[in-house]
């Protein structure tokens, strides 16, 4: 794995390849259950959003599967380490397959970069293995010479289906 996304950016403005590497690395950290490092990729005021509705525009007055700030994300990460987290005994594992992320927009003046990534995500625990198909939209900016995620939006293709437990991060 390239260290590019982890290391400071080579210049003030990220290249397309640096954006792509960053998104790929995020998925890898989840797969490897390196959740503390994963959380560090998020800006302090970031949100992780999984809409409940197809083409949902409002996370506030329409319900979502997840719409969590960094406090709630860090609670999830802490919980995964807990001795009495019974739904994670044994632990879930997950696996991402990403298409190459596409850089949808680069706005250097506004320090705003958006990528769009089609992916398959598999979560497994005990005998169950479940496949989800989704698109991840990453809104990123440069902070102290490093990329940070401001918003990650995960649109699951069957967002309105009745799911069992989805325990990790897509």
């Amino acid at each position: 794995m390239s260290m590019l996304a982890d290391a400071p950016l080579k210049s003030a403005v990220p290249t397309d390849q640096e954006l792509i590497d960053f998104v790929v690395r995020e998925a890898r950290l989840i797969d490897q259950q390196r959740f503390d490092e994963w959380l560090d990729m998020y800006a302090d005021d970031a949100f992780y959003w999984m809409p409940l509705e197809w083409n949902q525009t409002d996370p506030r007055l329409t319900c979502s599967l997840m719409y969590e700030d960094k406090l709630l994300l860090s609670i999830r990460v802490e919980r995964l380490k807990g001795a009495r987290t019974f739904s994670q005994k044994p632990k879930s594992r997950c696996h991402h397959v990403l298409q190459t992320p596409q850089v949808d927009s680069r706005n250097t003046a506004a320090n705003s970069y958006v990528t769009w990534t089609a992916m398959h995500y598999v979560e497994t625990r005990l005998e169950e293995q479940t496949l989800y198909a989704a698109w991840a939209t990453h809104h990123m900016s440069v902070e102290d010479g490093r990329l940070k995620i401001n918003l990650k939006r995960v649109d699951v293709i069957n967002c309105d289906a009745a799911f069992g437990n989805i325990q990790l991060f897509m």
Binding site: L52, R60, C63, M66, F86, S87, A161, N165
Partner: protein, 437 residues
């Protein structure tokens, strides 16, 4: 093998004063009998007025495992119809909800029906001449569920003609609906925000029981609510408590908190936790809301409405409502070991948006398939569903704070950690299961 069909004594023997037999959770035969008796004999929640506001609007749901649909007829009345074509059984509607216009049309052979279910037309009608078709069941159209009741916007239906009438079935328990609705300054609710659907590999009654189980939160939810409390402790002093922490942290309240909050028992398996206070009692005030309530109801009445903090009100057989945050959970049975949970949220008409925002946040943080609190619960249900197959002990213990004279009592408030509500639900279960057998 049939052990229970038509065998009233065997069914009654499944429920003892202080314990129930595992077959009520694991037996497919018992499950089928529930679908034939418990659900058709009960007033089952089918939806809310606001889901079908206009003539021709429909919404599909289930009574037990039977598909039905609600539809608003041209005269404004809501009908509940069995969702099958009387011809060959095809489900009539293709979407869960929508507007069908003036009539339903079966997509298979184009039989069409008025929105009250009556037969409107059949193509090539000549083919039925001299066949005695007029006397057939099919000629009557889509079969209606005959007993339908709209209680302040909440729609209930009963399939069987026997059983109790609406008032006798619910009695004083409707006060929890009243309180939830009265929280709107205009006394009106509206379904809003979308429905969360969550599939559970366990028996539906485990979910219903859990709504009045106050000895599990501080244990099962230590991983979620306990972590919230721990992480929140590290916040710099003076940080404003986020809405999410207000919502999740009270799940870690002490046994004493839950003992003192109390449980109320009504007839027919209904009841609620949170007689004196609840995990909803200490939410921050929403700016502008009390002023609106005061203007609508007067100060004293407004306070009385908002001081009621019922936690979970369970309505037999399969819904729970949370008045203080306008939420309804529908536990839809699919098989003995499979249940679909739908969590519906309501907007208080003419109240600030922030109340709906809180309701939705609660739903997402507690009831979503992605919710860590939900994960804690489901793990326990699924372990129980498996563990019950052990022959080491065929009985589930429901003995906490049992009192020998309790079966004769109704409308009493008891210790908040009592398993009386669960015993009470099973007494009702036994009654509606064997009613008419």
């Amino acid at each position: 093998m049939t052990r229970y069909a038509g065998n009233v004594a065997a069914i009654r023997a499944l429920v003892r004063d202080q314990e129930v037999h595992r077959d009520v959770y694991v037996s497919e035969e018992v499950f089928q009998l529930e679908m034939e008796h418990v659900f058709p004999n009960s007033w089952v929640y089918v939806g809310h007025d606001s889901q079908v506001p206009n003539a021709g609007d429909y919404f599909g749901t289930t009574i037990g495992t039977q598909p039905v649909l609600l539809v608003r007829h041209t005269d404004g009345k809501v009908h509940v119809l069995h969702n099958r074509c009387p011809h060959k059984g095809t489900r009539i509607t293709s979407e869960t909800c929508g507007n069908t216009g003036k009539f339903f049309r079966c997509p298979y052979h184009a039989w069409s029906f008025k929105t009250d279910g009556s037969l409107l037309a059949i193509p090539l009608k000549k083919g039925y001449e001299n066949t005695g078709f007029e006397q057939s069941h099919a000629a009557t159209g889509m079969a209606p569920v005959r007993h339908v009741r709209n209680y302040r916007g909440f729609l209930f239906a009963k399939i069987n003609d026997g059983g109790l009438d609406f008032e006798d079935f619910f009695g004083e328990s409707l006060s929890s609906f009243d309180n939830m609705i009265d929280r709107s300054p205009v006394g009106q609710l509206k379904v809003a925000g979308g429905v969360l659907r969550y599939m559970h590999n366990c028996n539906w009654k485990m979910l219903v029981e859990n709504q009045t189980d106050t000895c599990h939160p501080m244990v099962a939810h230590e991983s979620s609510a306990g972590t919230v409390v721990e992480v929140w402790k590290k916040a710099p002093p003076g940080t404003k408590k986020p809405m999410a922490v207000e919502i999740i942290a009270p799940f870690m309240s002490s046994y004493e908190f839950f003992e003192n909050m109390g449980i109320r028992i009504w007839d027919n398996g209904h009841g609620h936790t949170g007689v004196h206070h609840s995990i909803h009692s200490d939410y921050s005030a929403v700016p502008g809301y009390f002023e609106k309530m005061k203007a609508a109801y007067g100060e004293e009445r407004a306070k009385a409405i908002l001081d009621e903090n019922r936690h979970n009100t369970v309505y037999f057989p399969n819904i729970m409502i949370k008045g203080p945050i306008q939420l309804l959970r529908h536990f839809k049975p699919i098989a003995a070991n499979k249940t679909l949970v739908e969590s519906w949220t309501f907007q208080l008409v003419d109240a600030p948006d922030m109340l709906l925002e809180r309701t939705l946040m609660y739903n997402r943080l507690i009831n979503a398939p992605t919710s860590i609190v939900g994960h804690d619960d489901l793990e326990m249900y699924e372990r129980a569903q498996e563990g019950l197959h052990s022959n080491g002990n065929e009985w589930v213990n429901l003995q906490r704070l049992y009192s020998p004279d309790e079966a004769e009592q109704t409308n009493v408030a008891v210790n908040g950690t009592s398993e009386w509500p669960m015993r009470h639900q099973f007494r009702a279960w036994s009654k509606f299961m064997t009613m008419g057998m």
